[in-house]
Symmetry: C2
Subunit: 225 residues, 2 copies
DNA sequence: CCACAATTCATACGTTCGTTTGAATCATAA
DNA sequence: TTATGATTCAAACGAACGTATGAATTGTGG
């Protein structure tokens, strides 16, 4: 029996969809744009993926599976090296966010395109996309939260969760907004500090994240509660 | 001549549009949903605003005009009080982000709904929305950047712009994702630390932002330029 | 009260959307 | 070569989209 699987059409659709979803969002991208730019027939998406919803889920799964497994591997190694001791917070942060950012240098894994798509989608309006991402992220998030709890035993857990949240936001936005920023800020910054210098973005962002994570705890107003 | 202006229909459309754009995004919200929930005729939007594009611009303008003027007023006052001396960075950050967050307590100014809409829209895919926001923000952004340059004379300007960018992201995401976070983290945190406690979010976020802003400068790899 | 502008309304226009269909083409195993 | 399943294709479907129209209704100044 012939059960081949033409991966060429599939991959070309996924690549184009990834780029268009990044540029115009889920609702803003039509099947006709995708199939048109991919040079395949309109019906190909429904044939290979079933529906537009399944398509974007596959767009994410293709990249996220590797990313989150890699994050787990890195954290595994860090915890093994620490031998029972808590892992340094900066190393945990790098395992999560650094691994993500270093994906951008790897075009075979989506590079900047997927990173920016992911950054945008964390505030995506579509309900089913948020639910899907939440499910995909659940295990790895819990794991990293636990690691941070152990690494920062003196910081209230609620505070750690909040700051993890803040870090996620800073990172998403730093990635997703790289060209929106150009519009907003109109910065006259020397060439070598341009947004494209990804190798400088990583240490920059990492300094900011660690600074925020280790900031003095907030003093709540006496009126609080 | 009768040039009345029925503000009731206009306002009701704006309120509903604000909420629906927040929940489902620009492309994900139809004119029929808006007019239906607002209890007005389908043609009312085109009559009062001209088009869907003009409608969302008015949704933003209605809130942003006051917000950015208030930010300027606060910064004016801070600089006057400093009398020529640079203003403390934490005060500048509070003038920008604190003023934004305190809007959420003011339902007459949109409250949380507008805040979350704004948070989401900073990574909005639609080209004309990004362009519109960039234009609306240009003046106030330049002003605050200048204030930070003076407040942190030893920090390279490029670094400050980056960190301002990171702060924007952390704040946007903290606001926009308040219920997406519930999905992702599934945190078992005591009642009083719930997301709804906005009065605690402000000092929490502010500590994080200041910590990030004042973090040690990043060390670039020897390989980098 | 009348005249006229402002507003509301039901309805329709043309387009684009995601999806489906059934035939045509391709590739492979027997 | 032939049979069979995998894939591609052109065409069409009904639904929903943003917008436009012209008549009906409302409100107000003269």
């Amino acid at each position: 029996m012939a059960e081949v699987r033409n991966t060429d059409t599939r991959e070309r659709i996924l690549d184009v969809a990834e780029r268009l979803f990044m540029a115009h969002g889920y609702d803003g991208t039509s099947m006709r744009q995708i199939t048109g730019e991919a040079g395949v027939n309109l019906a190909a998406v429904n044939y290979h993926f079933g529906s537009k919803e399944s398509l974007i889920q596959e767009v994410f799964r293709r990249r996220l599976d590797w990313l989150n497994e890699e994050r787990m591997r890195v954290l595994d190694r860090l915890e093994a090296e620490a031998g029972g001791q808590p892992v340094k917070p900066s190393l945990i942060v790098d395992a999560f966010f650094g691994t993500l950012l270093r994906m951008a240098e790897d075009d075979a894994r989506g590079g900047m395109t997927f990173l920016r798509l992911l950054g945008r989608t964390l505030t995506e309006p579509s309900e089913f996309i948020r639910a899907f991402l939440a499910h995909e992220y659940k295990v790895v998030m819990d794991r990293f939260k636990e690691a941070l709890f152990r690494a920062l035993p003196d910081v209230p857990k609620a505070e750690i969760v909040w700051r993890f949240h803040f870090m996620l936001g800073a990172t998403s936005y730093a990635i997703a907004g790289t060209d929106a920023l150009r519009l907003v800020t109109d910065w006259q910054i020397e060439e070598e500090d341009s947004v494209d210098r990804l190798d400088r973005l990583v240490p920059r962002l990492m300094s900011f994240l660690i600074g925020g994570l280790r900031a003095p705890l907030p003093q709540f107003d006496q009126s609080g509660r």
